[in-house]
Symmetry: C2
Subunit: 677 residues, 2 copies
Amino acid sequence: MAHPQVTFRDTTFTGKSLLSTRRTTVSRSTVRAQLEQIRSTGRYDCFNLKWHSIYEDKSMWPVPFHLFWDSDIAKWIEGACYFLADEYDAEIDSTIREFVDMIRGAQQEDGYLNVHYTVVEPGKRWSNLRDMHELYNAGHLIEAAIAHRDYYRNDLLISPIQKYVSLIGKQFGPGPDQVHGYPGHPEIELALFRLYSATGSIEAFELAQYFLTERGNPKGQDGKHYYDWEMERRGDEPWLRPDAYPENRTYWYCQAHAPIVEQPTIEGHSVRAIYLLTAVADMIHLSQTADRPLSDSKVWSQAVHRLWDNMVEKKMYLTGGIGAIKQWEGFGIDYFLPQGTDEGGCYAETCASIAVMMLAERLLHLDLDGHYADIMELCLFNNIMTSMSLDGKTFTYANQLASSETDKSERHEWFWCACCPPNVSRLFGSLGGYIWDYGSEGDGAFINVHLYTGAKVTFDANGASVSLEQKSNWPWEGNILFKLSASSPLQATIRLRLPAWSNGSYILTPSSQPGTVEVKRGYIRLTPAYTTDNPSFSLQVGGFEPRYLTPHRYTNQRTLTLARGPIVYCVEDVDNSGEKNHFKDTHLKADSHVSEHKCTDEQTGEEYVTLRSVGWNRPGTGGASSASGEVTGEERELNFIPYYFRANRGGEGHMRVGLLNGGDVSGILFPERARDS
Amino acid sequence: MAHPQVTFRDTTFTGKSLLSTRRTTVSRSTVRAQLEQIRSTGRYDCFNLKWHSIYEDKSMWPVPFHLFWDSDIAKWIEGACYFLADEYDAEIDSTIREFVDMIRGAQQEDGYLNVHYTVVEPGKRWSNLRDMHELYNAGHLIEAAIAHRDYYRNDLLISPIQKYVSLIGKQFGPGPDQVHGYPGHPEIELALFRLYSATGSIEAFELAQYFLTERGNPKGQDGKHYYDWEMERRGDEPWLRPDAYPENRTYWYCQAHAPIVEQPTIEGHSVRAIYLLTAVADMIHLSQTADRPLSDSKVWSQAVHRLWDNMVEKKMYLTGGIGAIKQWEGFGIDYFLPQGTDEGGCYAETCASIAVMMLAERLLHLDLDGHYADIMELCLFNNIMTSMSLDGKTFTYANQLASSETDKSERHEWFWCACCPPNVSRLFGSLGGYIWDYGSEGDGAFINVHLYTGAKVTFDANGASVSLEQKSNWPWEGNILFKLSASSPLQATIRLRLPAWSNGSYILTPSSQPGTVEVKRGYIRLTPAYTTDNPSFSLQVGGFEPRYLTPHRYTNQRTLTLARGPIVYCVEDVDNSGEKNHFKDTHLKADSHVSEHKCTDEQTGEEYVTLRSVGWNRPGTGGASSASGEVTGEERELNFIPYYFRANRGGEGHMRVGLLNGGDVSGILFPERARDS
């Protein structure tokens, strides 16, 4: 299976675009800034297995501060390897070599490779799969090893990792001498499928498949749920539970409340949930293409689609963010999508939307439907891009749709649980792999174009070298120029995504002859006849007028949000002076005129489009309970910027995506009291 | 201090009114039905200290099923004593005598009196104040003993209870040999103040004051928070916590996160919170009237008003319910007031609104403001009365504003944690005490009328016997006839509450001379000059036209609710056939005509007023994301009944208080997909 982390090498970003600008920033700034954090926080030499004073800090339970250090380094290595492929950097290169040396040195005789259980709690390995991220760390080491091998063309990292995988494979499985466990934080499953695709390791495939199949088995180990069993084995009282567990045994937190195929809705920690489904999609795809039979493939496929639909239709913010609840970093009930902390919560973790992109990309292989690419693009340009500053050095972890006094719209250099920043690097490093799919089709070639930017892909199909280049000013303008070429004549089918927000409006130039173009499930299909006649063509996608988005009425969010093309907009105080209450008192009307303005950011030179409209500030929070009449309030000009652009230019961190819709009264139950005291 | 549980004896309900009908039901049906439950569930003989098999059930932690049995019996005794005062019942009388015998027999040599720690865990008394309701049970025994003494005029129950109080007083206090603890579930504090008022026991007063003052002390016991200290003493792991605790050490659950006077907002379990504040109000009042000095009385007063205001303005449903969150049976963040389970939660426990009535009645003594009586009435006629069926035999515990598939609008005969049903009995038994305050004022008398119904009060003031009778068809009509009489001429000032929802509209007949009537803080004050000239007069309160209520806009509840006078209305499927989705898709418009209809319930003969209007059913849950235009949907007639009337006449349990306000579009983010599969 062609994962984007492999195929990105076929794609070059050409010209200046929003995505290429961001990739350059990550390459030249973010990767180094994150290395600096890894050094200054002590992570750097953890694989040397020396003692760090933070290891003594027991104030966090069950997850100590250093538990993810293995994965932080692994993810950094992975991202750095992707960027080295673009542009060589001697310091980065030598740092990766150092890390690899240290990791190799940290491996135990039998293959075991985990800092915490080697240094801090030796002898307790595999005693707490639910909480301790042991297999999660292993998964990221696997992914780092594949990226390392692909760039360095040696087995210095992948060889010890394969030894570790063998050890894990002996420990876990259906056999009578094996333990019937699976990770509390899924990740290793998708890493193992990647390892299988990269090396053909049947052991890796079967281990991943076991983890997916066994997960949530209510009687998996000695007639008990595995997490109950290991809890008893540790001697924990049955009511002892981590803070992330809202109640006792709420194993939906880690998607282990039922076997995956039986889960009716998507629940719990959102990153875990989507990493898990990404692996499920891999397993289904491999069963169709790689002779890895899956007896109940249809049931798995129904599950992944059912859970996806539940997520997108009932649990996703209009920014592509998922997860309303901070406590378990995950999903609330259906339609529970408040915008901020003071309205009931909003989490929308960066990693979760990156995971949605990964899953969407996988689903496009199973089921070519522009819907998945729409969601992929929504996540990329909104919830994900908003998580990093323009200079690539500061980040958000949660991406709320509205700030509050508790949680202002602001960024941080790092987090003790630093999953998000290196995930952004990994994504941008392998971004070329998300732009399109391609390959042989019949005697010829196909290219399915999912995302628009400036880029060129070159690949082999049926013995010919094929390349397709796209040039555009996306996401600001909808016109894209394409140029197809091949080393020898061949039949090429091209499918171009037509976003749902275009409402089906597009212009293809040269225009097509009848029968050479059709639109099906979100893609404009150009036949070989068309592409042979027109190796250069352009597509004009409609829908770049500003439009209003409204959440589903069951969300109780009666708001209007401005969007334009794939970009969702917000207001922040830096452009709307005097705002002191996080825009809680401002309403829009759907029939107001919206004007567009091209801008250039003074500091970075980055170009973007702002929107301007009029809103009304409602009178103070008091008021009578009467519901008659319309409150208009004080008119104010409102300046909207792309949501991803927030928190870059000062201000006090007041920001909002969805503003109150319309001017209908909402007062309070009782008239305000005059108080003597 | 004159608590309503004492003063109710001065009041007789006269004529037929909604309240008197309900009191008769409770007296003749509910008290017996609850006794039957107490028998059939095994509670009956628990004070005999024999073993019950349910004591072995460890599936609940930390609170075993039987933990509240002491209080269930105590509350039943208390309520039964109140009704015996009205109407003698030989079976009830003999049952109370049996209970008293058993309770006396259960007392240990040293005065200790608790079933669980005598039978199930002997030797562990006072080891877990946070969870084990030991002092809560003691509080209810105290209240039962006071009610018992007041009716039976003997000390058979109060005498052992006073011995128990002395034991508790030795155990807890500031002394070096005392433990610096306080109950996880406040209740004993208000019971002890009642005991002080009833018996003058300084020991009781000081113990209650200690509990209030010590609560939330971060370094109360050996430099630690008391609950941390006792947890360590039990050997519990620090992260072990009950399911009701959302996270570790969230002591706001039981209002012990900070000293009471420092708490900025009302938090946690709502019944605990309001029982606690009721005791605080008692303490302040006693410090003003009973020579029990309180050095920082102003700070306590600020605290109780601050927390009340936070509750009423930001955390109360328009039915008088409080508490949005099921997990901790309590308050969410400010303005978080969803209507039902599938919208984010709604708890609105019956006991909590009863507690609000108790607190409001106390605050009226500190600060005569019709606002408190408005809230008292709101709770009584809506959130509390909706908790019991018309036949007085089935109950609700949570009183949601909208049903859902998970939680339909339906009643139950009993609950394993049976706090609510006997609380309703206690309240109706002592209801006369909430109607009015009265007493001597200067040379004459005063009567502050808080609630309207048919009733007569007789009391002594400055040597005269004074009585005031009110006759009305409240809550259906606003006209009330009053008749004042006294055994000898005296100056009587009468204050009549003018509800906020009347918008200040009233007619007094005979009309007043200038200067003999003024309206201040929600009360129409009739001077002695007026009452002397007009011992019979009538008040016509305005505001009985149907009106719409809308929650504060920060709640994100853009709904309309119909109300009329003090009654809040709802729709249910039994009157609105064909409803299958809990009225989630129905909207109202604030300018629609509403008609009123007098009805008589076929089964009970109870009279009430229904409302009828028109609503619109929106198209299905799909739809485009466009926000232009108005969705009208299919018109339907809607029949509204009083919220308290719900779930009495069959149907499938679909019910809603607040319907969508207006017809503005809210679609979904993406157009619905046509799916091949």
